[in-house]
């Protein structure tokens, strides 16, 4: 037995060594060629399964067309853009170098260090070529962190023309009546915050999270719990209280639905399900107290993230690749109508996906302007709110609004209660304890820090003293602030150290006087 165990252990160790050996860092290949980026680079790319073959072809095209001598040795793995953040955050070092992801993951990506600030010229490239909404999606604070890939992450309405006549598509009430008459369902995933927030935007509400340049959430500006919000709640109640309402955004036409609110990703399937009865339009309006409100939506983007590299040359090379993959030609290849169109090289089986581009030039191309789903998306975009960075917890908080409305009796009081519950929940996200709110901390350029770290202080009456002594050079600046915010901070101008030494920092909170105590 002992021998067997020893053998097993030895094998395990031997295997580990072999595996480590194969896992060495990507080499940068031979020097020479034209320009300083010339060389071969090993790059891992994560993209949705359907796009794997196209991405491989696009990388090959980049290799043969770029004039910098860059050769990309790409491993393309199918990872859905919805899962990219979960996978990257698990282990950034083992994650992909380039990855498709949905914009709502941007903050998490930044905080995990899975994406870095784009360089000046890269950011300029992205800003010059892409529309404003997609740039907004790729930025946190004022910096860009990823390349826009599409600007089509929105939803609109597909309908069965044999049930809903074209004359009715502008009115939610008429559509509900048509569906009820034909005993067909209305699929609208209102128990999902991404969809139900659109109803609130339609009545003029807003909900905006504020982020800083590090991807942190600072506050929220939200008025769902208001008179306008109540109108939206009434609109939601109209649909969810009907027996034909189905909480789904799947291609449900084969399972009893006559209307489905969903996005471009279901276009090809729905087209094949409905055939000649295929109809697509922007969302309808609903009526409350004689006034009409057009249903709103979120318009979002998919982004291409670039993992920060320790090798500056590789970093530059994969940024070149990223710019190629998000450029006009590649975006158009993905935009190609998956039903009607053929790819630019004429092969139907290798067709596009109908992804709406973010590239300004590509948006004017007939491939985009003739695609019925993208036409509907663009019509809906007039009523859409660009999706900003959203705190991860918001999705679960906001979806409950619909669940509560559905369970209620539809009275004003019940709807208001649902909205109040929502408002209380989002405020709780930022609630900090009184102890933290009242405590003073030191922040500044101490220890080479760039005003990002709050150093703790201990209270004795009005006198606050830093817990530790710090070695400070001449010119080091800092402030003492309360509750980790800038509402109360001393001294008014930054404290500047005039004599180098090791000091504890002391604050008199009553007078605002800051002194250094040599340690």
């Amino acid at each position: 037995m002992k021998k067997l165990i020893a053998l097993l252990l030895a094998l395990t160790m031997a295997f580990a060594l072999v595996a480590c050996g194969g896992n060495g860092d990507a080499g940068t290949g031979g020097e020479g060629g034209s320009g300083d980026l010339a060389g071969t680079y090993k790059v891992t790319i994560w993209c949705p399964e359907a796009t794997v073959e196209m991405t491989k072809a696009q990388v090959a095209a980049f290799n043969s067309s770029n004039t910098m001598g860059i050769t990309i040795d790409a491993t393309v793995e199918p990872v859905s853009e919805a899962d990219a953040a979960t996978n990257m955050i698990q282990d950034v070092s083992a994650g992909a170098d380039l990855f498709f992801f949905a914009q709502d993951q941007l903050s998490r990506m930044i905080q995990a260090g899975a994406v870095g600030k784009l360089g000046t010229s890269a950011a300029q490239f992205a800003r010059d070529n892409n529309n404003a909404a997609s740039i907004l999606a790729a930025q946190s604070g004022t910096d860009l962190f990823a390349y826009p890939l599409t600007a089509d992450n929105g939803f609109f309405m597909y309908y069965d023309k044999s049930v809903v006549p074209d004359s009715d598509v502008d009115s939610l009430e008429a559509i509900i009546a048509d569906c009820e008459k034909a005993n067909k369902n209305f699929s609208y995933e209102l128990e999902n915050a991404w969809y139900n927030a659109g109803v609130f935007f339609g009545t003029g509400c807003h909900s905006q999270w504020v982020t800083d340049n590090d991807g942190n959430f600072i506050s929220i500006d939200d008025d769902f719990n208001s008179d306008k919000g109540l109108i939206a709640a009434k609109g939601i109640y109209k649909l969810v209280s009907s027996p034909i309402y189905v909480n789904s955004s799947n291609a449900d036409f084969a399972s009893g639905s006559a209307v489905v609110v969903t996005g471009t990703w279901n276009y090809a399937t729905i087209k094949s399900q409905l055939g000649d009865n295929f109809g697509v339009a922007d969302l309808p309006s609903f009526e409350v107290d004689g006034q009409s409100y057009h249903l709103g939506s979120y318009s979002g983007c998919k982004l291409l993230g670039v993992k920060p590299q320790s090798d500056a040359k590789k970093n530059a090379a994969i940024n070149q690749l990223a710019q190629y993959l998000t450029g006009k030609d590649c975006q158009l290849q993905r935009a190609w109508d998956p039903v009607e169109g053929k790819t630019p090289n004429g092969q139907a089986e290798n067709g596009g996906f109908g992804w709406g581009p973010s590239n300004k030039e590509a948006l004017q191309d007939p491939i985009v302007t003739n695609n019925p789903a993208l036409i509907a998306l663009n019509a809906q975009n007039e009523y859409a709110v660009p999706q900003p960075n959203i705190h991860g917890s918001w999705w679960d908080i906001a979806k409950v609004i619909t669940t509560d409305i559905k369970a209620s009796d539809g009275s004003d009081a019940a709807l208001k209660a649902a909205l109040q519950k929502y408002a209380d929940s989002i405020q709780a996200v930022f609630e900090i304890s009184d102890e933290v709110k009242n405590a003073f901390t030191v922040i500044g350029s101490i220890n080479g820090d760039s005003w990002s770290l709050d150093l703790p202080m201990t209270q004795d009456g009005d006198i606050w003293t830093s817990n530790e002594a710090y070695t400070m050079d001449v010119g080091v600046e800092f402030k003492c602030r309360q509750g980790m915010s800038w509402d109360v901070a001393y001294p008014a101008d930054n404290f500047v150290v005039e004599t180098a030494g090791t000091y504890k920092i002391q604050l008199n909170a009553a007078t605002g006087e800051v002194t250094l105590i040599p340690a």
Partner: protein, 291 residues
């Protein structure tokens, strides 16, 4: 119900009463088994549907065919299936060997710290394995056993702590009389010979039970497999790979293929269970008689 039946019911004998209650029980059981079987029948039927690949509102396909199984053969599924099979088989072998040796030792040997050791393992075993997920990932990652090398990594995860699952088989071994061991020892058998010549043949149900459970764990594993193989198709097992077909952009294209995959995954487990069912039940109950 006619009047006649009412009169006969009043004079119903024990036999008739039994038949009636049995009938009611059978009806109930049939009803439950139908409910229980519907999803399986549904998946099998959907896997033969070829007129479309998305979810539909009917069960019986309009057009039958094998296209979904052909798609499966042409996808990464082969690789995933092989991965899963290797992991499950290797775990089954290693776990069985380690666990049975452990149980035999704890059942037959008397050594210092035996009691504390058993209690210690019992307590350690109470912590959910998921708690160790992140640290295990780091260890495996340092060994280079993640992503594309996930298969050996997951085998390691599968059998590494298997000795702690000794309770059931130790319980069973305790029921086998020690005088058999002693007789064999007197005749010159070594400890190892006692184990595989005397104990194991008598403990066949528990051996089979151990093999089955050791095989089933990795076969259906999702959480660890996803965490270790993340983002690398070559290291996926079937659960992780097939789950990746259920995303928004995949499901309309892959739904029926997914059903076909589900059927294929169920096949070996079903065969295994049908063949070994008799022993399995004995194993589960046998070990529980005496602690």
């Amino acid at each position: 119900m006619s009047k006649n039946e009412n009169t006969s019911k009043r004079h119903m004998g024990i036999k008739a009463a039994n038949r009636l209650s049995n009938g009611a029980i059978y009806v109930l059981l049939i009803l439950i088994s139908v409910i229980w079987l519907i999803p399986f029948v549904f998946i099998v039927l959907q896997s033969f549907r070829v007129e479309s690949t998305y979810q539909v509102g009917y069960v019986v396909p309009h057009q039958w065919g094998l296209q979904n199984y052909i798609n499966l053969w042409n996808s990464d599924f082969k690789r995933w299936y092989l991965n899963t099979f290797i992991i499950a088989l290797a775990s089954a072998v290693l776990v069985t060997i380690i666990q049975l040796c452990m149980s035999y030792t704890l059942s037959r040997f008397r050594f210092k710290m035996r009691g504390p050791l058993m209690r210690f393992m019992l307590i350690l075993g109470m912590f959910p394995g998921m708690l160790t997920m992140i640290i295990l990932y780091r260890v495996l990652s340092d060994l280079g056993l993640t992503q594309a090398n996930a298969v050996p990594g997951l085998i390691l995860v599968g059998f590494a702590s298997s000795g702690m699952g000794y309770y059931v088989s130790k319980g069973f071994f305790d029921t086998i009389s020690r005088s058999l061991d002693e007789a064999a020892r007197v005749d010159g058998a070594t400890r190892l010979q006692v184990l595989y010549k005397i104990i194991l043949p008598l403990a066949k149900p528990i051996v089979i039970y151990t093999i089955l459970t050791a095989f089933m764990g990795p076969w259906g594993d999702y959480v660890f497999a996803r965490y270790v193989a993340f983002g690398t198709s070559a290291g996926y097992n079937v659960a992780v790979g097939m789950y990746s077909w259920l995303t928004n952009d995949q499901i309309n294209r892959m739904y029926t293929t997914f059903c076909a995959g589900g059927v294929i995954v169920a096949v070996p487990v079903t065969i295994l269970f049908l063949c070994l069912q008799k022993y399995y039940v004995e194993g589960v109950t046998g070990g529980a008689v005496k602690g």
